[in-house]
Amino acid sequence: MKGEVWLRAETPAVVRATLLEKPGVAARLLRRAKSPVIVVGHEAAGGAGSCLLDAVVRIARATDSPVVATGGVSAELGRMGSAPPMIIMSAMEAGDRLLDPAWQPAPGRRPPDYAFLLGIPFPIASVIEAGLASFAQGHLKIISLDRLYHPHCDLSLPNQTREEWEKNLGAIAEEVEKG
């Protein structure tokens, strides 16, 4: 079940996303990226007791990545005061911008070479990733740090429970911070 597509109808092409089973691998990718961008959807907003957004902010700070936050999560992220720039944009718009090889997420920033996506509802995320897989292959690597396996990405975390997801993202943040 780890690498099964969450929606049966969401059929990928011949090449499926490689499973990211160890936090160290995701952390290496985050460190290797020259100009990463993190796109966060509302499912990452956890309310009381959730450390997901905390992990996102730690990763963004350690890698100096701009964070594109969708409407449902931007207020919570804003209150946490992420140091790199935060851009408020809907997930679909963010996907559209990522298709453009010249798009700069914030003034003075280079166009992204790696996009890390998480917390976006599966029906929206799968459409965005399918578009990026077809039309952004030349300039962008797509990595899913979501709770569910996303086959259209280059690499993706496996299907997991919310608790496992929080633990994994915390471990990735720790690895990234180690440098």
Binding site: G71, G72, I88, S90, M92, D96, I120, I124
Partner: protein, 238 residues
């Protein structure tokens, strides 16, 4: 079905008139034609546009002047997608729920590309910047709150009067602050003159605009069209 503490349903709480604050049940899905028909009637009654074989002019009128937005929430059937297509074809932006993405077609604008937002001024034939309004014709919202912020933004039109734009800005800024946190970053693109700024938020908005280097537009309200033949005096754009 939703009921409040007194046991009243939505049709008890809201009046059934076709006006702000009203809730009208037009009937089944196919009755949506009455709603798009209301937009078509505006073009016919106010601008005396011919109704017969004149879809292009009517859609041009609705797109540039009628501040309407459609919301197609919930499970997205093929019929709902077809209805949404009927509205965006008429120039009315449509917001679908997350499942609307499954149809794999979005009509998204890029507010950061200034060159995309020029229209013809029907009075002079000049190409003028009208701002990113409406920014999208078909998009999806991830959450109910995201849809609520999108509605006043997609209601804006190039031909808004200052009072109309000010009311829309008031709702847009208020909802954005409440649900997204902070001022919208596209405010400098949507405010044309000082008169567009809602009075109750004037100080705060002016401070924000000054920090962004905003300048008043020299031609705030054009007579917008995309059809050169509608330009007065023969239709040759400058």
């Amino acid at each position: 079905m939703y009921r409040n503490e007194s046991g009243d349903g939505l049709y008890d709480i809201y009046p059934g008139r076709f006006d702000a604050g009203g809730l009208v049940n037009c009937g089944s899905c196919v009755s949506n034609a009455h709603i798009s028909g209301a937009a078509v009637k505006i073009a016919s009654i106010f601008a005396k546009r011919k109704l017969n074989s004149n879809y292009e002019e009517i859609a041009d009128y609705v797109h540039h002047r009628v501040g309407a937005v459609g919301i197609a929430w919930g499970a997205m059937s093929q019929k709902a997608a077809a209805i949404a297509a009927g509205f965006w074809r008429l120039g009315i932006p449509v917001i679908a729920g997350p499942h609307g993405a499954k149809y794999r077609r979005m009509l998204l604008g890029r507010k950061d590309r200034e060159e995309d937002w020029f229209v013809l001024d029907a009075r002079s034939g000049e190409r003028v910047y009208a701002g990113p309004v409406p920014e999208h014709l078909f998009t999806v919202a991830e959450t109910r709150e995201e849809a609520m912020v999108l509605v006043p933004k997609l209601c804006m039109r190039p031909n808004d009067t200052v009072r109309g734009r000010s009311i829309k800005m008031n709702h847009y800024i208020d909802l954005h602050r409440r649900f997204f946190g902070g001022m919208p970053d596209d405010l400098p693109l949507l405010v044309r003159t000082m008169a567009d700024i809602p009075i109750t938020m004037k100080d705060e908005v002016v401070r924000f605009l000054d920090a962004q280097g905003w300048k008043e537009s020299d031609r705030p309200i054009p007579d917008p069209t995309m059809l050169p033949r509608l330009v007065k005096g023969g239709g040759k754009p400058a």
